[in-house]
C-alpha cells in the first residue's frame, strides 16, 4: 500500500494509505479524544469528540472515520474544534449523574478524564436526565444505565462473538438505552458473563462487580497474565494491594479472542488469595456453585487424584 504524507498540528507524518486521521495522529503522539472509537471495533463516529479541522473544508470532520489524504493539513485543537468538543462533552455531562466520588470507574473513566482536560463541570439544571436503571441481577457485572453515554462499544464487542449478541440499542433519541436481549436483565438474558463489554465501556456504566469496593483504580498495582484454560490465551490483569492479589480483571479481547467466564474464574482461582464464591447460570438464574462445577472439573479431579495415587503406589517416577 502506498504512503500518504500529511501535516497534523504542524507535525509532518507519513502513514499508509487508508489510515484514519485519528490513527495517523496517534503515530506521532497526538491523542485525539474519543469515546466510541476502538481500533478493534467497527468505526461508528457516534461520540463526535474526535472532530478535527481540515484545511480547505469548512466542516469539522470526525478523525476516526476520515481517512488521510496526501497533503492534508489537520488541526486537532483549533479554537473551533475545542469549542465544539467542549460543548459535546458538556452535553454528555449534563445527562450524567454526579457520582464520581463513589463510582468504581473513577480514575479510569474517559468522561472524567476529558472533563478534567477540558475543564468542564457538572451543571445543575432542571432538564431531563437519564433514568436511573440499575441492573444488579448479575454477580459478575453491574450495569448502571444512568451512567451510560451510549457509545455502543459494548454492543459492538458483544456482537463480535456471533453466538452472543446479547446487548442491543433499544428505543431511540434521548430515550435510547442498552438492552439485554429483548429487555431482559443480565441474569435472565443470554449473557454469558464474559465481561467483554466491561472491558470496553469507557465510563462506569458496565463494571466488574467482583471488584466493587475493593480498591480505587489508582491504588495497588497490576500485572497481566495469559489465561491457561485454552489456546486463545486471553489476557487478564491481576490486581494486587498490600501484597495480596485481590481481583482479576478481563483485558479487552484482541486478535479474535473470545474471552470467557470460565477462563476468568480459572485465573481467579489460580492467583487470588481469597477468591469469592463462583456462580453459575442455570435456566436464567444465577446460583452459587463450587469451583469444580464452575470450572467443569467434576469427575476429572477425582480421576486425576486416582491416577496420581496409582502412580505414587507403583513407585514410578
Amino acid at each position: 500500500m502506498s504512503d500518504v504524507k500529511l501535516t497534523i498540528d504542524g507535525q509532518k507524518v507519513t502513514v499508509a494509505n487508508g489510515t484514519s486521521i485519528l490513527e495517523a495522529a496517534k503515530q506521532i503522539g497526538i491523542k485525539i479524544p474519543a469515546l466510541c472509537y476502538d481500533p478493534n471495533l467497527e468505526v461508528v463516529a457516534a461520540c463526535r469528540l474526535c472532530i478535527v479541522e481540515i484545511e480547505g473544508s469548512n466542516k469539522l470532520q470526525t478523525s476516526c472515520s476520515t481517512r488521510v489524504k496526501e497533503g492534508m493539513v489537520v488541526h486537532t485543537e483549533s479554537e473551533k474544534v475545542v469549542e465544539t468538543r467542549k460543548d459535546v462533552l458538556q452535553l454528555l455531562l449534563d445527562s450524567h449523574p454526579n457520582d464520581c466520588l463513589t463510582c468504581q470507574k473513577a480514575g479510569d473513566c474517559f468522561l472524567q478524564k476529558y472533563a478534567y482536560e477540558y475543564d468542564l463541570k457538572f451543571r445543575e439544571h432542571d432538564g431531563a436526565m437519564r433514568p436511573e436503571l440499575l441492573d444488579t441481577s448479575s454477580p459478575y457485572i453491574l450495569k448502571d444505565d444512568a451512567k451510560c453515554i451510549l457509545c455502543g462499544k459494548c454492543v459492538r464487542t458483544c456482537a463480535q462473538v456471533s453466538e452472543r449478541q446479547v446487548l442491543t440499542f433499544a428505543e431511540r433519541g434521548y430515550d435510547t438505552y442498552i438492552a439485554c436481549d429483548a429487555n431482559q436483565t443480565l441474569e435472565t438474558s443470554s449473557c454469558v458473563s464474559c465481561n467483554r463489554c466491561v472491558t470496553v465501556c469507557p465510563v462506569g456504566a458496565l463494571v466488574d462487580k467482583r471488584q466493587l469496593s475493593k480498591l480505587r483504580s489508582w491504588e495497588g498495582s497490576s500485572r497481566v497474565v495469559n489465561c491457561k484454560r485454552c489456546d486463545y490465551g486471553c489476557e487478564f490483569e491481576i490486581v494486587s494491594k498490600d501484597n495480596k492479589n485481590i481481583s482479576v480483571v478481563a483485558k479487552p479481547p484482541t486478535n479474535g479472542r473470545p474471552l470467557c467466564l470460565k477462563g476468568r474464574l480459572n485465573t481467579e482461582l489460580e492467583y487470588l488469595n481469597q477468591p469469592e464464591a463462583p456462580y453459575r447460570k442455570i435456566d436464567g438464574r444465577f446460583e452459587e456453585t463450587t469451583w469444580s462445577k464452575a470450572l467443569s472439573l467434576d469427575g476429572i479431579l477425582e480421576k486425576i487424584e486416582k491416577m496420581d495415587s496409582i502412580k505414587g503406589s507403583t513407585g514410578e517416577e
Binding site: 461508528v44 463516529a45 457516534a46 463526535r48 466542516k59 481517512r67 452535553l91 449534563d94 453515554i149 435510547t176
Partner: protein, 529 residues
Amino acid sequence: MITVEKLKKIKKEQRPLLEKRLREIGNVDIKEDGSIVLNGDYYKKQLRIALKNCEIIDPNNIKEYIAVDGYFALADCLSNMSPKEIIEDIKESGLRGRGGAGFPTGKKWETAYSYDDDQKYMIANADEGDPGAFMDRSILENDPHSVLEGMIIGGYAVGADKGFIYVRAEYPLAVERLQIAIEQAKELGVLGNNILGTGFNFDIELRLGAGAFVCGEGTALIESIEGKRGMPRTKIYRTSHKGLWEKPTIINNVETYANVPVIFQKGVNWYKNIGTEKSPGTKVFALVGKVENAGLVEVPMGTTLREIVFDIGGGTQNGKKFKAVQTGGPSGGCIPADLIDTPVDFESLDEIGSIMGSGGMVVMDEDTCMVDIARYFLDFTVDESCGKCVPCREGTKRLLEMLERFVAGKGEEGDIERLERLSNTVTEASLCSLGKTAATPIVTTLKYFMDEYKAHIYDKKCPAGACQALVEYFITDDCIGCGACAKACPVDCISGEKKELHVIDQDRCIKCGACMEACPPKVSAVIKR
C-alpha cells in the same frame, strides 16, 4: 415477448379508451400535442412532470400508463442507448435529487457505474417521513409505473439488476398499487428477465419501513433493508461505492425517479429549459398550513414563493395577515413575509438559510408564534433522533427544553446566546443530516423574528398571542357590566357589580378564553394582551 411494436399497439388500442373515460369524467383538457392536463385554475398555473399522470390514468392498469407513452423511454434506452449515454444525458439534463439534498443524479449514477462489480443495487426512497408531506405517496398511488420505469432505466445505466422500493408501511394503498404495478410490469415483460427482449434483467422488491423518520436517511435506510436497526452510518464511503451489503448502490427519491422517463421522452433540451440553470425541472410541494387552497403543487424551479402561496394557493385564510412560510419540512427554515419574492430553487433557498427539503411548505399567518413554531419542529426532531450521536441525541433535547421554557415564560437573560451556541454545535457536530439541520427552524426564526424571542424572554409576552402561558385576558373600560363573562368563567375568577367594570383575577385565571367568547360582540371589552 414484448417488443416496441407491441407497446405501440397497446398504446393505439388503449389511448381512445382512456380519452373516452376521461371525457366522461370531464376533469381534464386533452391538448393538441396529446398531453393531458387536469383542468381548473389550480392546475393551470402548475407544470406537472412528476405528477403528470396523477388523477389521469388508472394506476392499476399498465395499459393506461402505456397509453400516455409509458415504458417507451425504457424501450428507447435499452435498444438505442449505451449505459454511458444514458448517464451523460441525465448529467446534461441537470436533474438533481428531489429527496432533500439536491445532489446531481447523473453524477451519482456515474459513480456507481464506475465501480466494476457483479452486483449493484437501485433503491427508491419512499419513506417520506416529513409530517404533512404527501408528494411521494401521491406519485406511488397514482402513477407507480413512472417510478418503476425510472428505476429500471437507472439499473440499466449503472449495471444493477436488483432494485428495492423502501416504502412506509403506513402507506398501504401505495404498497398495494406498487405490488399490482410490479406484477403487471413483469407479466408484460418490461420488468424481470430479458426486458423487452434485450437480454437485460432487472427485478424490483418492496421493503416496508416501520415508519421512523430517520430511516429515510440513505444509510439508515440501507441498514434497515439489511435487517439492522435503522441508524445512519458514518460516511467512510459513498453509498454509490459501498452501499447495500457493501455493494455499489443508488438511492434516489421517488420523485427523482419519476422525472427520469420524461427526460428521455421529451429530450434533455426540453427538460433543461424548465426551471433555472442550476436547478432544472420542476418540484412538487405539499402546500399546507393557513393557506386557502392546500394541496400538491408542481411548478418549475425558480417560481417565487409569492406565486406558489398567493397565485396558486390563494393566500392566507380568512383575510389574516401573511407572516411566514416554512419550507423543507421539520428541518427547514421559516421565511418571513418580506422575502416572499424569493425564487424557489436549491441555491436561493440556501442563501436565505432555508432548504428545499423534500418539498414541505407550511404557510403561517399573524396568529402563529414563531418561537412556538420552532418548538413544534424541535419536538418532532427530538422524537425522531435515532440516538446514535451525542450532539443530536442530547443537543436537540436541550434545545427543545430551552424553547419550552421560553413559551412558558421562563426564559432568562443569556438564553438567546446559549440557544445560538448550542444550535451551532448541533449543526456542526452531528453525524447525519437529521442532526445537522435540526436547528434550522431555530436559526431562521432567530434571524428573522428575533423580536419575538426577546418579547418572550424579557417581556414575558407572546406578540402573536399564541403562547397560552404568556397571554393575559383583560377587561377594558368598554365593559358594560353585563356579567356574561363572569358567568362563563369556569373558575369563577371574574368579579364586578352589575353595570360596573368587571375585573379578572390574573392569579387564578386559567386562560381558557371563555370570557372573551362570552362578552357581547358589540361590546368586545375582553382583550388578549
